[in-house]
């Protein structure tokens, strides 16, 4: 065995913890861990409060009963759940077909045309729009003439969903390998056949993810509903009348001086978060690449 000896004045290659560079490194690593933990505190706190404050009232009665008035005990927000679902359904019925067709145009048909780049720019601008402006717009166009209604609320939500659907669907459609559509063209398909039979089915998981995330976002929106759907204490019976929604109920009840209403606001928040989460989780499950 040869004896390997280290020369006397060889540089120290191992870092020592007290070295300036190493200390600096450790401190910043500590800071970044601290930031990450600090960032997760609000989420944990919100979830804790929702479960603690809202969990106790979560039950069949709360989910179906009508909102209580003043000093009344009990009650629930069944009409608000139904109202939220109705308006999200209206918004989806408008924005999904329109958004999907537009996405096909700007993503597959003519991605480099002027119209496509203009539409893409507009969609990006619209995603950054303050959500309350969708409410102001719908108010100016619709509410002024027809009054507060579920339809107006649905249209305001549709304005918000549309750009999300367009951008997500475009992204998903672009991911489809060019080879696949080339093969279909080679066999004599028309462009619409290629899109409807090859590109769209292939991109469907991604498109669905985008749509579900847009729905989740719309369900949680409140600002555009404030002065389009307003609020109502009764179950919805007509699309042209003021309609309750979970988010507006939380907003209204949070400012009330009654214990019962505040508790209901927490329970409604828990319900709303659960609805939003279901759509989010669905979106993730569908969007996962199949191996």
């Amino acid at each position: 065995m040869t004896n390997i000896s280290v020369p006397k004045n060889a540089p120290q290659l191992q870092k020592q913890w007290f070295e300036r560079r190493a200390l600096f490194n450790t401190v910043l690593t500590g800071l970044v861990w601290f930031a990450a933990l600090l960032g997760s505190i609000p989420l944990l706190s919100v979830i804790f409060m929702l479960v603690m404050e809202g969990g106790s009232r979560l039950g069949w009665e709360t989910l179906t009963a009508l909102p209580p008035a003043g000093f009344d005990q009990g009650g629930g927000f069944g009409n608000a759940i139904l109202g939220t679902l109705t308006m999200v359904a209206i918004a989806s019925a408008i924005s999904i077909p329109l958004g999907l067709l537009a996405a096909i145009f700007i993503g597959v048909l003519y991605p480099h045309s002027t119209t496509a780049s203009a539409a893409r720019f507009v969609a990006k601008t619209l995603t950054g729009f303050p959500s309350i402006l969708a409410g102001v717009f719908t108010y100016a166009v619709l509410v002024v003439t027809t009054g507060y209604s579920a339809l107006a609320g649905g249209i305001a939500l549709a304005v918000l969903m549309l750009p999300t659907v367009v951008l997500a669907a475009e992204e998903a459609l672009r991911q489809v390998p060019k080879k696949m559509s080339d093969a279909a063209y080679g066999m004599g398909c028309t462009r619409s056949q290629v899109i409807l039979k090859i590109v769209l089915p292939t991109a469907l998981p991604g498109v669905m993810t985008g749509i579900l995330l847009a729905i989740a976002g719309a369900a949680g929106e409140s600002a555009p509903l404030l002065f389009t759907a307003l609020f109502s204490n009764y179950y919805i019976s007509d699309l042209m009348e003021p309609t309750a929604s979970l988010s507006i109920l939380i907003y209204n009840f949070s400012a009330m001086p009654f214990e019962n209403q505040i508790q209901l606001a927490w329970t409604a928040s828990l319900t709303l978060v659960l609805i939003v989460l279901v759509f989010n989780i669905l979106a993730r499950l569908i969007g996962q690449p199949k191996i």
């Binding site: 930031a35 496509a116 507009v122 619409s192 989740a216 600002a223 002065f227 978060v273």
Partner: protein, 325 residues
């Protein structure tokens, strides 16, 4: 009968065939429908701007640019000005940007620079995304019943000991700027983190290997090479998050106190353009609605400028890494 392989319309023995006349018609119609859908989106934006703009015209004629510098909002005296709201909008968004930006970029570094195993990073990223999924109104409720009671004793102490600093000039009596800005910071944190993670991921792995190969510590690599390389992407993240903070409505309407004043103090109530719209619209009469439309135009203009700036920077980043070498 023999099949001529060079005649495209001879399809006896092949799955390939020319489209029929019916298929051609369907194709044209389908493309026309898609075209009109894309046009509809462009028209929608123009329609939104026009509709709000036209409704704001009477108010614009009445108040002119004095609307932007006026400081009173009085529906009875028919006097309207939005300077306090513009101030509140910018101030709250800026405070949120500083806090949410630092945290968001730190978290993006934490998630991309191998501080934690990849599997845990995925869990953490999902958590940050969940933070974005919680509705604004729920944050508002949380702010009222958790954050404000928590901040109140702090504000009293700070005001008592450091009252001479303008930021701590008042105590927090209920809603105010600090809880609003904090909630706003929490709400933009996922935006900052997500876009920054994207920017950091775009950096070629070679670059990191080259830096580490020269014997840098992890943070020397991050601060001197990785962050500067990703800087335009991170800037885009910050600008877009700023745009989002400017337009955020519900949580602010619940937490900021809707008070028409310009005050540097973090604990004084204030107001923003979006929460002015939210709180005044339902009960506004004709004249006030016109003034509110004008305010909506101001908000639209501010957010539009900020967002366009953000997307320009983002596009620049993408081109830098994907386009030319």
């Amino acid at each position: 009968m023999t099949v001529n392989p060079f005649n495209p319309s001879d399809t006896t023995d092949s799955v390939c065939c020319q489209p029929t006349a019916k298929e051609y018609t369907f194709d044209s119609v389908f493309r026309a429908i898609c075209y009109s859908a894309a046009l509809a989106i462009i028209v929608l934006l123009i329609y939104i701007v026009l509709e709000i703009g036209i409704k704001a015209v009477p108010s614009f004629q009445e108040f002119g640019f004095g609307f932007i510098t006026g400081t009173t909002w009085d529906a009875v005296a028919q006097e309207f000005g939005v300077l306090p709201e513009i101030w509140g909008t910018l101030y709250s968004a800026l405070l949120a940007l500083v806090l949410g930006g630092v945290l968001g970029v730190s978290i993006a570094i934490f998630l991309t620079q191998d501080f934690i195993p990849a599997k845990i990073a995925v869990v953490f990223r999902t958590m940050v995304e969940l933070l974005a999924a919680i509705p604004s109104v729920v944050y508002g409720l949380w702010g009222i019943y958790v954050l404000i009671p928590l901040l109140r004793p702090m504000s009293v102490w700070l005001n008592e000991h450091f009252g001479y600093i303008p930021f701590f000039g008042t105590e927090l009596n209920g809603p105010g700027m600090a809880p609003a800005a904090l909630v706003l910071a929490i709400m933009i944190l996922p935006t900052v983190a997500a876009i920054s993670v994207d920017a950091l991921r775009r950096i070629p792995y070679k670059l990191r290997e080259a830096v580490y190969g020269m014997g840098t510590t992890r943070w020397e690599a991050i601060l001197k090479v990785i962050l500067p390389t990703a800087s335009s992407g991170i800037l885009a993240a910050l600008v877009l998050a700023f745009g989002r903070a400017l337009g955020e409505t519900m949580a602010l309407a619940m937490l900021i106190g809707n008070s028409n004043q310009i005050n540097l103090s973090l604990f004084a109530p204030a107001n923003t353009l979006a929460s002015l719209l939210a709180s005044s619209f339902p009960e506004a009469d004709n004249m006030e609605v016109q003034a509110l439309m004008y305010a909506a135009m101001v908000l639209l203009a501010i957010t539009f400028l900020v967002n366009v700036l953000g997307y320009r920077i983002q596009q620049f980043t993408m081109r830098k890494f994907e386009g030319k070498p």
